[in-house]
């Protein structure tokens, strides 16, 4: 996606040799994964390493050390340095990549407290039911999707809500009323301060110019209650609701 210098794949044998050498001589300070230790910096993001191709840029530092910063010299030949370089270059320095460690469990809430919030202060039960529209929802989605759905109702940005179904959310509708009594209702297609357009139930497209308060335009967002709770809902309530929904298998 981001067109930065792409390295050709390193020779696996060189990577293996380099990993061994690195582990023995370098890992104590720089970490066995080269991502920094107690005394040595993270080499994967090191400017010197990023500029290096096959050991030529890092060789002087390895062979001469950085005595002022506590790094000794190493008596490696260029072939060994090239192996070390191959190992470090084989590690990801991606700025946006996926997590390297195994996924973490995001379910930390209290399901009982979530159920109480669902039926009480959260007023979720005024629209939803654990045995109705949400029956089995805990089997349909992974916990992170469930948690995002708790907040968005399915109306978040699809690109950021991978896998979250938005299709079951009814569309935003609009009612356009004229002083003479004519009224148009339907799916909102476009709204700005000057024009409104909609598609009515018989799939007819209508557009109207807006002049001041005429016609009256009232938008009905089916997810308005979800939007309204965003400024006040607490993280603990979100986590508890998620823990509860996970139990609705």
């Amino acid at each position: 996606m981001h067109a930065y210098p792409v390295r050709s794949p390193e020779d696996p044998a060189a990577v293996a040799r380099g990993k061994q050498t690195f582990g023995v001589s370098c890992g104590f300070c720089h970490g066995s994964d080269a991502r920094g230790g107690e005394t040595g910096p993270n080499l994967v993001r090191s400017q010197l390493v990023l500029d290096d191709q096959h050991g030529e840029t890092i060789a002087p530092t390895i062979m001469n050390g950085r005595v002022d910063r506590g790094m000794p010299k190493f008596d490696f030949d260029m072939a060994q340095v090239a192996d070390i370089a191959a190992f470090i270059h084989s590690l990801s320095s991606s700025t946006r990549g996926e997590a390297i460690s195994p996924p973490v469990n995001i379910v930390v809430g209290d399901a009982k407290a979530g159920e109480a919030y669902f039926n009480g202060a959260g007023k979720c039960s005024s629209c939803h039911s654990a045995t109705g529209d949400l029956a089995g929802i805990g089997s349909k989605h992974d916990p992170k999707t469930l948690q995002n759905l708790v907040l968005s109702g399915g109306g978040g940005r699809p690109s950021n809500l991978a896998g979250a179904p938005a299709s079951h959310v009814p569309p935003t509708t609009v009612t356009v009323s004229f002083p003479g009594g004519q009224k148009y209702e339907g799916r909102l297609d476009h709204l700005d301060a000057f024009d409104v357009s909609l598609t009515s139930g018989d799939e007819t497209y209508h557009s109207f110019a807006i002049h001041g308060a005429v016609p009256q335009v009232v938008v009905h967002n089916p997810l308005q209650q979800h939007l309204d709770m965003l400024p006040t809902i607490k993280d603990a309530d979100i986590h508890n609701l998620t823990a509860y929904l996970v139990t609705l298998k």
């Binding site: 994964d33 993270n42 990023l50 965003l230 400024p231 979100i238």
Partner: protein, 561 residues
């Protein structure tokens, strides 16, 4: 050479000999309020984006109509209609073949210069000269890129007869304004370290101030080049780079500081009286985790910094987002205002930052005068401390189970420019109120570099607005929410105010709109599509024009006859 001579001939006929000789930029234009030119990124050095022009005003705005529109030729072999004489694109670049731009559609997103009737337009890897009277393209320059993040280009700088712009693969290019012919190009940052350059250079006397950017744990810096030769004059690092550097005690260690970010994404503002260049810096890196950064403020990330333009030495700083943990850079325009504060005339710098807060600072001394929250939804800070700096609430960092935070990563606002209108005393900024769940996805933060280790899922928008802030007290004078704007894929693109009592903005749904700057009431509009840059205005042949870009098309407006 034939085509170049052709341009000469056409310009000489079209503009006449006097204008032809006068094509070069008079440096005095840069220090005055913009009138018959738009000679630098913000119209003038103050970046207030307020024009003293009032030929177009509230009384006659209903007669504003299209003067011309033109689709710019793009790429190395654009084909289509060029202006007379300009029958070939001028090609530059270090790459054999141009790399693919990586999913960013080409658009004119930054400032367009207008000098002596010629528009100088830029987009990543592309530059154009366009006749401001007719829309005729005079030349097109295309740079074959090695790569880099092609997210945008904020505009060109001009010195005399020379133009300057930056490329995503980290070159500063100088062109002859008359011909589009390359004078030289110079590497300004290390592409291997994943720097990419989007900033508009700023010309100040014999200095060309050049910023750049990076998302991979590299140090930020600002450089000054000689516009004549491209020689480096000074280089100012925005993070501590060696033992003893100021600010080092705000980092875990020197290695953390040297990978700490604070990129110089956007142009600064310049005060010719004090020779201070005031700019602002990006977020610390790694952006979403702080274990390797330490618990300190991480100076000089997310800060306003004043440098002496002659020496590159810091005069003062003010940090607008200490120890950021949401990738909210603070590189929003530092807007200069000479105005009354607490009963006294002051030289101020005003800034509405991506984190949702508004700041008033004395731009000569750096003295903090006011902090207010202009994004009502912003929920990441626990309080504002006695320095006037918001204090982050660690419970709103990205956490494994997720935290509900506003703004989203795009911020309460972003780089598109705000405006300060001295007639109303109001500072105008486009505000996004989006909530997102921020997850820490990497359980071992020491593995995280750059923007990695997190996932951010937007869960709802309360809408996009223009807010008018009274700089004297930080209060919101009015807030206009764009109808239909919360679900629009069109981003904010910046503002312009004029002495004609007009505030110009995209409305996020395809309209260019003129609002009443006192109330936010729409007065005029035209629906031209996904507007991609901030409106500009200037006088030409006794007529005031309003110019805006939609992708790679330009739209020029003036009053009907």
């Amino acid at each position: 050479m034939k085509s170049i001579l052709g341009i000469f001939a056409v310009l000489a006929i079209a503009l006449g000999p006097t204008n032809f000789l006068g094509q070069s930029l008079d440096p005095a234009l840069l220090t005055k309020p913009a009138t018959d030119a738009w000679p630098t990124y913000g119209g003038d050095y103050s970046q207030r984006r307020y024009s003293i022009l009032k030929q177009i005003n509230q009384t006659n705005i209903k007669n504003l109509g299209l003067a011309w529109t033109d689709a710019l030729p793009t790429g190395a072999n654009p084909g289509g209609f060029f202006g007379p004489g300009a029958d070939a694109t001028i090609i530059g670049g270090e790459a054999k073949e141009a790399a693919a731009p990586g999913g960013f559609p080409l658009r004119v997103g930054g400032a367009i210069l207008q000098v002596n009737g010629i528009l100088y337009v830029s987009a990543p890897d592309n530059a154009w000269a366009v006749d401001a009277r007719t829309g005729t393209v005079l030349w097109h320059y295309f740079w074959k890129t090695k790569g880099g993040t092609h997210i945008g280009n904020r505009g060109m700088a001009m010195v005399g007869d020379w133009l300057f712009f930056e490329t995503p693969d980290d070159y500063l290019i100088s062109l002859e304004a008359k011909t589009g012919k390359e004078r030289w190009h110079k590497e300004i940052a290390d592409f291997n370290q994943e720097y990419f350059s989007t900033a508009a250079p700023i010309a100040v006397g014999n200095h060309l101030i050049v910023g750049t950017g990076d998302d991979l744990d590299s140090p930020g810096f600002l450089q000054s080049f000689d516009p004549a030769t491209g020689e480096l004059q000074w280089k100012y690092y925005t993070v501590p780079m060696k033992e003893g550097d100021p600010g080092l005690d705000t980092w875990k260690n020197l290695d953390a500081a040297r990978h700490g970010g604070a990129q110089t994404w956007m142009p600064g503002s310049y005060d010719p009286e004090t020779h201070l260049y005031v700019f602002s810096t990006g977020n610390p890196t790694p952006a979403y985790t702080n274990e390797t950064r330490g618990e300190g403020d991480n100076l000089y990330t997310c800060s306003l910094i004043a440098l002496n333009v002659d020496t590159g030495k810091m005069s003062w700083y003010f940090q607008t987002s200490p120890h950021d943990t949401h990738d909210w850079d603070s590189t929003q325009s530092p807007v200069f205002a000479d105005a009354i504060f607490n009963g006294k005339p002051r030289k101020l710098v005003l800034q509405a930052t991506r984190n949702g807060y508004f700041f008033v600072i004395d731009r000569t001394t750096g003295e903090h005068l006011l902090t207010s929250k202009y994004a009502e939804s912003a929920n990441w800070a626990a309080r504002v401390d006695k320095r006037g700096e918001p204090v982050r609430d660690p419970a709103k960092d990205s956490l494994p189970a997720g935290t509900l935070v506003s703004p989203d990563n795009g911020g309460a606002t972003n780089w598109p420019p705000p405006s300060f209108d001295p007639d109303t005393g109001l500072f105008y900024v486009q505000l996004r109120e989006i909530y997102a769940m921020y997850y820490l996805t990497e359980s071992n933060p020491r593995l995280v570099t750059g923007l990695g280790g997190k996932e951010e899922d937007a869960v709802g928008s309360l809408g996009t607005s223009i807010v008018a802030i009274d700089y004297k007290n930080g209060k919101i004078a009015w807030k206009y929410r764009f109808p239909g704007g919360s679900s629009s894929p069109i981003g904010i693109t910046g503002l312009l105010t004029t002495a004609g009592k007009l505030l110009f903005s995209s409305d996020m749904t395809g309209n260019l709109v003129a609002y009443d700057p006192l109330t936010g009431t729409p007065l005029w509009h035209t629906r031209i599509g996904a507007i991609s840059n901030a409106p500009e205005t200037y006088m030409l042949d006794g007529q005031q024009y309003v110019l805006v870009a939609v992708g790679t098309s330009l739209f020029s407006f003036r009053l009907g006859q």
